[in-house]
């Protein structure tokens, strides 16, 4: 191992000057044999990058066209995504209010047990659901849905 050359820069640094030129970092065995292949594998995963950089050549006109296209694209996205602020209550095309839609979506997200629990807390709702159903129809529904037996007693 050779010591560092006695250069002008190290004149006032005797310790640095005296240190041998030694790389103390351990490199895993075979690393440099495998490394080129690993790089080529990474390149093979992204072949399109070559075509992309060819499109964006140093041509000034290409840069201008690309910038304009980008600006138009951004404007289009903003126009499409901009929320509709007209009217007191936003509605969809069928005229249903957004509040009704969100309630409906909430109810649809519940499973049968949760729905029954929800109706059970609100007697009016329970009555509304029960209206028009015969006892045997309710019984069949509860048994089919494997709901708690207590509901049978409450309903029938």
């Amino acid at each position: 191992m050779n010591a560092h050359r006695d250069t002008e820069d190290l004149q006032d640094a005797p310790l640095l000057r005296s240190l041998p030129m030694h790389d103390p970092f351990v490199v895993p065995d075979g690393f440099f044999d495998r490394f080129p292949l690993e790089v080529k594998q990474r390149i093979a995963l992204r072949p399109r990058r070559m075509a992309w950089t060819n499109l964006l050549s140093t041509s000034w006109l290409n840069w201008r066209v690309a910038s304009l296209a980008g600006a138009l694209g951004i404007a289009l996205v903003i126009a499409v995504l901009r929320p509709d602020t007209s009217g007191d209550e936003p509605t969809n095309l069928s005229g249903t209010s957004s509040q009704a839609l969100s309630e409906e979506a909430y109810l649809e997200s519940l499973d049968d047990t949760e729905l029954w629990a929800l109706y059970g807390e609100d007697p009016e709702l329970l009555t509304a659901v029960g209206d028009g159903f015969e006892d045997h129809e309710l019984e069949a529904y509860i048994l089919h849905q494997e709901l708690p037996v207590e509901l049978l007693i409450e309903e029938l």
Binding site: H4, D9, F35, V39, R42
Partner: protein, 188 residues
Amino acid sequence: MSDLSDEELMAMFREERTRHYAFDLLMRQYQRRLYAFVRRMVTDHDEAQDVLQDSFVKVWHNLDQFRGGSALFSWLYRITHNQCLDHLRRRKRNVFVSNESVMNSLTSNMDATEHFNGDHIQRQLQRALMTLPDKQRAVFTMKYFEELKYEEISTITGTSVGALKSSYHIAVKKIEAWLQRDQTKSAL
């Protein structure tokens, strides 16, 4: 296998049928020197591997644009140097990691002998190196370990020779002072 000249490598790279072979040769010719530089900067092998892979992928995508204004090695070194600094910058930008944590993680793997087989003073030298700002550390590494000329380092870093000399001079003073302090502590 003797190294090919820059012109020979570039000529092979420009030919479609020999492009991959030329790139393979280029990697085998320069990977060790570039790895050594990156490893000094980030200390950890896995990080060095990532940075070096990123660098060569960038080389692959941009080698067509190399016009021979500088040596090919300087051009490769420049890409690797920039990738290194970007990597270290991204690391520090992580809001969940303090600067002290970054420093500790950069030096911690030097304590494990499977990663570092230098003696005490070389370990201390590397620790001292990690206290330098990233750009200054890069300059010191290129000058002190790689023994590159200031003109070459100027091409790589885009910094003037005068600024580089100043930066290196300050780095040498800092590190020498660190090593002297460590020697004094060890003697007590």
